[in-house]
Subunit: 342 residues, 2 copies
């Protein structure tokens, strides 16, 4: 690259000019790196759950159409950012070349996972995704990706299987922020507690001293996952899109909550989360399906004095905290292993 | 009404059944009230800024088309909720009938403003909006609206002109939350500081003890509004949709900020707000144009450890705090009077 590089990756933005890579329609994924960049040989993408769900539903689960759609997005945009959900995911790969001015400290040959979103990572796929069955968000592939000076990547731990580490790192912001917000003795409701970010958040809440963790799931099958072994003190089966029913059930389970953590990837859960939370409490929205206006107006509409947080995917130390929970809490590891195997 | 009423207004929801009024496509605005409801004779709507802007741009400012669009929304949905922006606004009127079980303490003949959104307020318009010129978001009209037991309404103060009180109450959540978050000695950046919620937030930040208030505006004309008399310590002219330029200018003005308050009603300001905020700082998003995923992924993408708050329109005491700023800070009152007169 002859252009001056930017730690934020501005030099890779093709259109519209001047925006950050995440906001760009199209990035330049060419393999030649600037002195502060790193090139990764990609072996796996882990698509954001909301993105994969949208693709699966749009193409009625047809693997060929889902594959073609993902290939088309990457070829068109130079990154894997679903234009409907605007979300991406993450990747793993091996460091191929590390620029002499890169501050990331990565060396050729190391296996890493990116902890910044695919929505801002220049990416090229070279194998037509022929090894992906299109049936899950884990996408084995060949190609390359570029890391900027201000990207975040973690070397994959050797004591855990790669698909497991990848799945954990993809959602590691949720338990880290939950851990920061939950105080000793709090009542915590986790909506979508049998999911990946949900189970880690439930475990993080307990580790942070929650007096009661209420796990909300949509079905008896999900409830079973939460109970064997137990990850929540009480399990509530409810449709989180039905605010009144949800709030009634959470209250009966020991709520309303001091902290409600929203981890389900379906739209329409804002009102229920707000109604399930105590006056003066906090709602943390981790779902990318969260609608900003629905949250803001929903709280106002029921005169709810709750603090509402946009779940930030980056909290310092997030990967280590989440991997620690996987190693230390058998119930979470068990649940993750089942999810990853699915 | 023969049906059992709910404090949240669930009995007024026609479709889809079982959702909260804000999430409903259609409400029942019939005038007969339940024992815990209140009927208001409406005299003015104050449309949400993002909603009015969308209507004005869609119909190229044509007053007849804008009027017809608003009438059509209200007739179709039984409430004024713009289906594109999903936002509403507020109204003023006179109490016509107060049910014997209403907890709101309102009496027939009192002039009030609603502090819950029009997105959940059953509404009928009876005058075809013939008194509205379509040229501003303040809509004189005739009709009626319904308040539920858990609605919020404030009796209009007698010492301030009604359009001024209305404009203040519409955005009073912003200064109240800003006041709660800003600590003594903080550097505060207000994006859109010459607007209504922005100017009140700037004044609230100063009252809360901010050491430096940086006011960000898009044009020299807006900068002039902020300087006469001064509402910010430094005025920065920048396009808030250009993250890199914005962050550079805020830094030169004494930033990055401990607290950044986003008060502009245009999309695409998430990245700039995040980049203008210190590690460990807080961004408060008050704009209904905020995109949840852009905020969440934007922070992650630049490894920003910032707390991001969804601006809740309800904070206890919010109307009193904002009216107090209007009475006590001549610069804010001056700016509001110009905006309302426009």
């Amino acid at each position: 690259m002859s252009r001056t590089s930017s730690p934020l990756g501005l030099h890779r933005v093709l259109e519209p000019p001047g925006v950050l890579p995440q906001a760009a329609w199209r990035l330049d994924p060419s393999p030649a790196i600037a002195p502060d960049e790193v090139r990764v040989r990609v072996d796996r993408l882990n698509l954001d759950a909301a993105s994969y769900r949208q693709l699966r539903e749009t193409y009625a689960g047809d693997p060929d159409k889902i594959r073609a759609a993902v290939l088309d997005i990457i070829a068109t945009r130079g990154k894997m950012q679903n234009p409907v959900t605007n979300s991406g995911g993450m990747l793993t790969g091996t460091i191929e070349e590390s620029g002499p001015q890169s501050p990331l400290g990565l060396k050729p040959g190391q296996r890493i996972a990116t902890l910044v979103s695919l929505t801002l990572t220049p990416l090229t796929i070279t194998d037509g995704l022929r090894s992906w069955d299109g049936k899950s968000e884990q996408v084995p592939c060949e190609g390359h990706a570029i890391l900027f000076a201000r990207s975040i990547a973690a070397v994959l731990p050797e004591d855990l299987p790669v698909p497991l580490s990848l799945a954990v790192m993809d959602v590691c912001g949720a338990p880290a922020l939950t851990s920061r917000i939950v105080k000793e003795g709090a009542v915590v409701a986790v909506i979508g507690a049998a999911g990946k970010s949900g189970s880690l958040s439930a475990a993080a809440a307990r580790q942070a001293g929650a007096a009661r963790v209420i796990g909300v799931v949509p079905t008896e099958a999900e409830a079973h996952l939460l109970r064997q072994p137990p990850l929540a003190d009480v399990v509530v089966i409810a449709d989180a899109r039905d605010p009144v029913t949800l709030a009634t059930k959470v209250e009966a389970a020991g709520g309303p909550a001091d902290v409600t953590v929203v981890c389900v990837d379906v739209p329409g859960c804002e009102g229920g989360a707000i109604l399930s939370t105590k006056q003066g409490g906090t709602v943390i929205f981790f779902s990318m399906a969260t609608n900003f206006a629905a949250a803001a107006l929903g709280a106002e509409g029921v005169a709810a004095d709750v603090t509402m947080l946009v779940g930030n995917g980056y909290v310092p130390g997030h990967a280590d905290l989440a991997l620690g929970l996987i190693r230390g809490v058998p119930a979470v590891r068990n649940l993750f292993e089942r999810r990853v195997a699915q």
